[in-house]
Assembly symmetry: none
Homo-oligomer: 191 residues x 4
Amino acid sequence: MSATERPHTGRKRNELVRSAILDGALRLLAGAEGGAVTVDAIAREAGVGKQTIYRWWPSKGAVLLDALTDRAEESVPPPDSGSLGADLAAVVTATFAAAQHPQTAPALRTLVREAANDPQLAELMQEFTGARRAALQQVLARGRERGELPDDADLDLIVDQVYGVFWYRFLLGHAPLTRDVAERLARGLVG
Amino acid sequence: MSATERPHTGRKRNELVRSAILDGALRLLAGAEGGAVTVDAIAREAGVGKQTIYRWWPSKGAVLLDALTDRAEESVPPPDSGSLGADLAAVVTATFAAAQHPQTAPALRTLVREAANDPQLAELMQEFTGARRAALQQVLARGRERGELPDDADLDLIVDQVYGVFWYRFLLGHAPLTRDVAERLARGLVG
Amino acid sequence: MSATERPHTGRKRNELVRSAILDGALRLLAGAEGGAVTVDAIAREAGVGKQTIYRWWPSKGAVLLDALTDRAEESVPPPDSGSLGADLAAVVTATFAAAQHPQTAPALRTLVREAANDPQLAELMQEFTGARRAALQQVLARGRERGELPDDADLDLIVDQVYGVFWYRFLLGHAPLTRDVAERLARGLVG
Amino acid sequence: MSATERPHTGRKRNELVRSAILDGALRLLAGAEGGAVTVDAIAREAGVGKQTIYRWWPSKGAVLLDALTDRAEESVPPPDSGSLGADLAAVVTATFAAAQHPQTAPALRTLVREAANDPQLAELMQEFTGARRAALQQVLARGRERGELPDDADLDLIVDQVYGVFWYRFLLGHAPLTRDVAERLARGLVG
DNA sequence: ATTTAATCGAGACGGTACGTCATGTCTTCGG
DNA sequence: CCGAAGACATGACGTACCGTCTCGATTAAAT
């Protein structure tokens, strides 16, 4: 979408511009694989002035995070099937699967790369991952209440084993994140 | 160490220069915490020309990794006490402890940050982490041979749970990496 | 041996680059008439990095001034024919003619434009114009010694009438700077 | 003067806004001396929207010129004492004196600086200075009719010597613009 | 009395140029 | 040939103004 087709909204923030930027960012993230996700590039891709980006996001990474979360996240509620094993397997499987999406994966990797040198973005990602951890912990807490886990089980540790394995493999890529692995991991943790 | 105090060795490679560079890199990695581990900065810190760095290392990251591994690692052999639980606990505890060292921690974190945007370095770190994984897997394999693990145990997954938790907590810092956690983790995995 | 006494060992300044920049600047000044004498444009035109320009000149205008003076000025000595009238006419005529040169004129105008918003450059131009004034005053002083001007003649004022008329007409362009005008002006001042 | 204290006049042009803008512009012109006479700055200073400025003036420079001329100039008629020498001296002295005014001088200098990069404003200033030249020429023409100047005197050149000296010294500041200088200049031109 | 039309403050927007920073290569000179 | 110093091309960065646009309010003139 070019700038010429996009009407100005005057002194109000233009939502079309917002999504044009996020779209452009996603296109670059998904496409370029490893390179050239420049602020200038995003601006050009979206038909937007650089200043407009800096006006609304503190850093390039914030744009990327926004681009990823804005659409992908409709705040899926954690499953509650009554069985801890099933719930855990569901969450882990879903997590693994979501990151495999051919458009999401490169974007996510770029995002992490950006976060590494951008404290602003790092903090934003902390919030994001914190929410994920909290959701998973809730699932575990329900299971513990039902007696499916010992009372002294270290829920934080279990959560971190899940996300630890996920990120470790996702970023290093030395081993797969298949559905099979997900189920085996879940079983190992609460079996 | 300034350049003026260091004698030239003529056409042979000067070992003093090598360590001056690695020292300088370490000082920057440990000190600046968040900022500016530039090639120029390393060169200045070491009293060295930039070209000298590029002559011997393929990228900035390679220098950093070299700086970290050159000294800290005298290739500790994996423990072999005869008990899988004890061995695993020992490895995990040692891993957690090593990263806590007040000089190592910030350097390691910076290293990861650099690796995120430097494919050269990323590959080097893969080798490094690969070696660690292999060592741990060897411990587990010995235990499985002794019957301390079922024959169909997914050793790779267990290894990745250890290092996954480690890196996840180390980088995000949302939860501790104490000896207690290490032991609980080990017990959970092979108990 | 202190740092100041230490001979330079670094790479030498590349004279070709210097002249490439000045040439490029001149080409832009002469060509584009009024527009787009950007630092980026100069750099592109000269096949040079922007940083290289900023390394050697404090501002864009300084480059332009350098470009103009570097070549045009072989420090012409003021004429000394023995007759004040003839000398003055010669200087004024030469000044008028020099600025009419089809390549110099637009460059000079751009230079003034730049100086208006660049104190650095303004000072440089002061030096330049100061030297011109001094040269003319020397001519007048010689004439006064020979009795061709009264002892109480205000030489500064005469000089400023010459250069005042010159710049006033050159910049506003409301009246010509012909040889005829030059001679009439000279005659009016010392006739 | 802030916007809140200023009543709206509805669909009629608000004269208070006009003067608020001109006042703000003058304050910036006189005050900052060297910096930042931005359109945004004028708008902020006057408590006015940018569009309001662009609605009534074609360019920033036009505002500045308006600000200067609107108040200072009540179109003083050229003197006509019957003596050319006296009239000329009066005009020159008045011109020199006017520009010395502590509030006018910096504003005038800034105005010229702006004009250097604003063709719109440059043209407006041409009109302004043209009027001044015409006024002075009228004085000279009257004197020539009375026989106080030779029939072939180049009036334009005399005029430009006056204003040339004035602007040259005013802008460069290398020599004063005192009453004494004014009288000597006038005497030299028509004496 | 109601509509219509213009002013005005505010500020988002697409651009252009700025001056700085880091990278990795290349060049010079002294040991 | 090594090593220190640093020039150089490249390209991204984040900022400053520009001039245009649209909003929502206010008020005067036209209906």
